[in-house]
Symmetry: C2
């Protein structure tokens, strides 16, 4: 066990995510270089800590900051060193970090196990362990902590949108899946807590990171992209623990033979059989996503909606066709259409025009306005037979405007059940969807995405419920 692990019982990544001071080793004035892009990002995102550019060939300054030839020359406490120097130089640079008591390092440099240089990788592992220095990488994008404005990514800010602060933490073995998903998250209406691309995972792997995020108060939902788990037994140990505390949405790549072969040459991941992974994911309540769309769709509902174990879903729509598609989608995903009580039907009969058929899916008509949406939500939303709601708002219709958005947001603020909105369309629709998402109402682009996401929520809620019941039963048994 490393020094850092002994303190907290798990690897402490605090200095890496929320450092007070950062040394960028390999920093340079030359645009296009990784060390330049990293410096630029620290400056652009407004990092509030101290920044120390380090380069063996440095003059007196780099990008306007006082420059150092070695991390040992800085003479101040360094929380995080981001290392972007050629692979050959990494062992020495890392040793200097250890001697300078740097509290954590991110090695973005590539050229290690992923290209067969296993000895070189072993040598940096040895150095990191010798100093008990938590090390992310090599061959990774590193970390982003939106709250701390800490961003080791060497991707230009104009190329990738940066998300707002939120409760989702995203762990990615792949830098490319990591960066694209980050970019999508920025437009997806929910906020990010922490992002980590851990690359070759020479020391710190997905298991360490899960354990750390499990204890992280800012992380409500964990999203994981993984090609192969490094330590199966340890992963299983943490798996049960973490999912009893917060949802973990996982996208596993390499599910087919050919995909697994590709994964081996990518991050040298032992992909294992998909059946084995699926069994573990199921047993420990991981929410499995089949593609990057589902990864985001599921993260969004977990980030914003309360858990619910019931599968009876009410559908309210101002477009009949989408109501039918939503109904189909419910049953395709193991959910069911809720039924209305006589009381709710009477109430709706009083509030809706005569042409509205009082049943679920409730098609309130293409001429529905905010008042009608409000009446429908009030009558249906309060029903004890309704476990969750899908509200389909087609903004192409004459009556659907910002007042409908307001009605839904007002109702959303009051209710205790999961509610998602489906709004399908172009620019006018997207602008209204963004407003709803900013108030914590997830908006989906199709009824099928909405139904899949509710089904994921219900599956996880039932897992949590079962785990809780088992724990209670065990506690009772132990008393007797």
């Amino acid at each position: 066990m490393d020094h850092a692990e002994i303190e907290k019982g798990y690897v402490d990544l605090d200095p890496i995510f929320g450092p007070g001071s950062v040394a960028v080793i390999g920093a340079t004035d030359k645009p296009g270089k990784v060390g330049h892009a990293i410096m630029l990002n620290y400056i652009d995102v407004g990092f509030s800590g101290r920044i120390y550019p380090v380069n063996l060939n440095a003059g007196s300054t780099i990008m306007g900051y006082r420059a150092y030839r070695s991390v040992l020359d800085i003479g101040e406490d360094i929380d995080l060193a981001v290392i972007a120097v050629p692979a050959d130089s990494v062992p020495d640079v890392l040793d200097e970090c250890g001697r300078a008591h740097v509290r954590g390092v991110v090695v973005v440099s590539g050229g290690f196990a992923e290209v067969g240089a296993t000895e070189l990788q072993a040598s940096i592992v040895e150095v990191a362990k010798r100093y008990g220095m938590p090390m992310i990488g090599p061959n990774c994008l590193g970390v982003m902590d939106v709250r701390a404005r800490n961003d080791t990514l060497f991707l230009p800010t104009f190329k990738i949108d940066r998300p707002k602060v939120g409760g989702v933490s995203f762990v990615s073995q792949s830098g490319s899946v990591g960066s694209t998903t980050l970019d999508l998250i920025s437009g997806a209406g929910f906020g990010l807590s922490r992002f980590i691309s851990y690359g070759n995972a020479a020391t710190i792997d997905e298991t360490d990171i899960l354990r750390y995020l499990m204890h992280d108060v800012h992380t409500q939902v964990i999203v994981l992209y993984v090609e192969g788990v490094k330590r199966g037994r340890a992963f299983i140990d943490v798996a049960r623990e973490v999912t009893s505390m917060k949802p973990v949405v996982v996208l596993k790549a390499g599910t087919t033979q050919a995909g697994a072969a590709a994964a081996r040459s990518h991050t040298a991941a032992l992909a294992g059989s998909d059946e084995a992974y699926d069994a573990v994911f199921r047993q420990y309540g991981f929410v499995r996503a089949n593609d990057t769309d589902e990864l985001l769709d599921f993260a969004k509902i977990f980030d914003t909606q309360p858990l619910a174990t019931g599968s009876r879903v009410a559908v309210i729509t101002n477009g009949g066709g989408h109501g039918i598609l939503a109904t189909d989608a419910l049953y395709h995903n193991g959910l069911e259409l809720a039924r209305l009580s006589a009381k709710a039907r009477r109430r709706l009969r009083g509030a809706m025009p005569g042409t509205v058929n009082i049943a679920l899916p409730l098609d309130i008509g293409g001429d529905a306005d905010a008042q009608r949406f409000e009446d429908a939500l009030d009558a249906v939303g309060g029903e004890p037979t309704v476990d969750a709601l899908i509200v389909i708002v087609l903004f192409q219709t004459p009556g659907a405007d910002e007042k409908v958005v307001e009605s839904i947001m007002n109702f959303g603020a009051r209710r205790e059940k999961p509610m998602v909105v489906v709004s399908v369309g172009g620019s006018y629709t997207r602008s209204h969807a963004a407003v709803m998402e900013s108030s914590g109402i997830p908006v989906y682009r199709s009824a099928s995405a909405a139904a899949r996401s509710i089904a994921a929520l219900v599956r996880y809620a039932r897992y949590r419920e079962r785990v809780r019941a088992e724990a209670e039963a065990a506690a009772v048994a132990s008393k007797h």
Copy 2:
């Protein structure tokens, strides 16, 4: 058989799609009214024909156009009458249209069979048939012909984006699915030929429309949303014929018992068993979409890419993780990863950096620039063992910029195989994706959507190939 049918052997919808003159019956100066929205759209989209507002209570003008109290007062040839008056008045108005020799009508008014007024609906059917006047509706949005700038939709232009001119025609039983999909199409990078929301299908139904579009030279791809087919036998007759000429992508709603029940109350559609529909769709080579996303994804590939019957797909990527996801997605969709010949491998070895693993999926590295994309495309694209290409361009990386877009577009213009691009990300990515789509290269938001779309293309190409072979065999047999 109606008069119009006798001429061409099928119902001629030319006057409805591309009229030289339009009477808007129910036109009004009052904003918010359907008749106002329709007039506004005709003016806004720049309809080049003559516009005649008609209203029983009209003064001398409506919205600046000379107004008429009856279509009979116009005294000019009217190709299309768009009827937006209360349901009770429709029979009389329709009779006037017949007497005025109007060549086609769209009845947008609701209040017929969908609310149980079957007699009223029967009465308008009687009038339309008596005059041999093709009638779309009632209870529909009507038609949009992008080329003719003919737009009967009563949806404000600011609420719904209008697509550019293209080869996809979209037939929707549901107005809401129709309008939302139109809105999405506008942002989806492909153009529309004709749109038709046919509502209650009192006379003209999906079968008539398919037959018409089959003969329409501007329609390359037909997209169909249907809740239930009106005339099963006739539909099957046209089904075989149309799919031997152009692809038909179909989204069938009401696939579950509850969904079918909802469909019955929506457009009084007899949904039938999903198994029966699926059997027909399979037998006649319809491309079935499972949701609105797939509807668009499939339409896009058919609109822009050549058919190919081979299932060996090459994947080129500047992000390893997405290459693995794409590989998985190929096999999940019945496709396979292509293999490279020794010659192509040699060529790639010469052109790629030493760190690039020369195999498919070909991960050309996070630092790949336009030249490397070009070299990879040239070496892989020409391989006879490669039937189709997925090019994954992650614009978050430093080397991926407008020059890469240019390389891909240049290659795209030369090749004869299906090629799709996957670009996942936010605003910077979307701007580059839009450029590629404008040159006929479909861009998908995920590898799984790309693989599903290629699989749909291959399935249909194989159907066409089989039909062609059967026809040839039959021709040979008939000679002996």
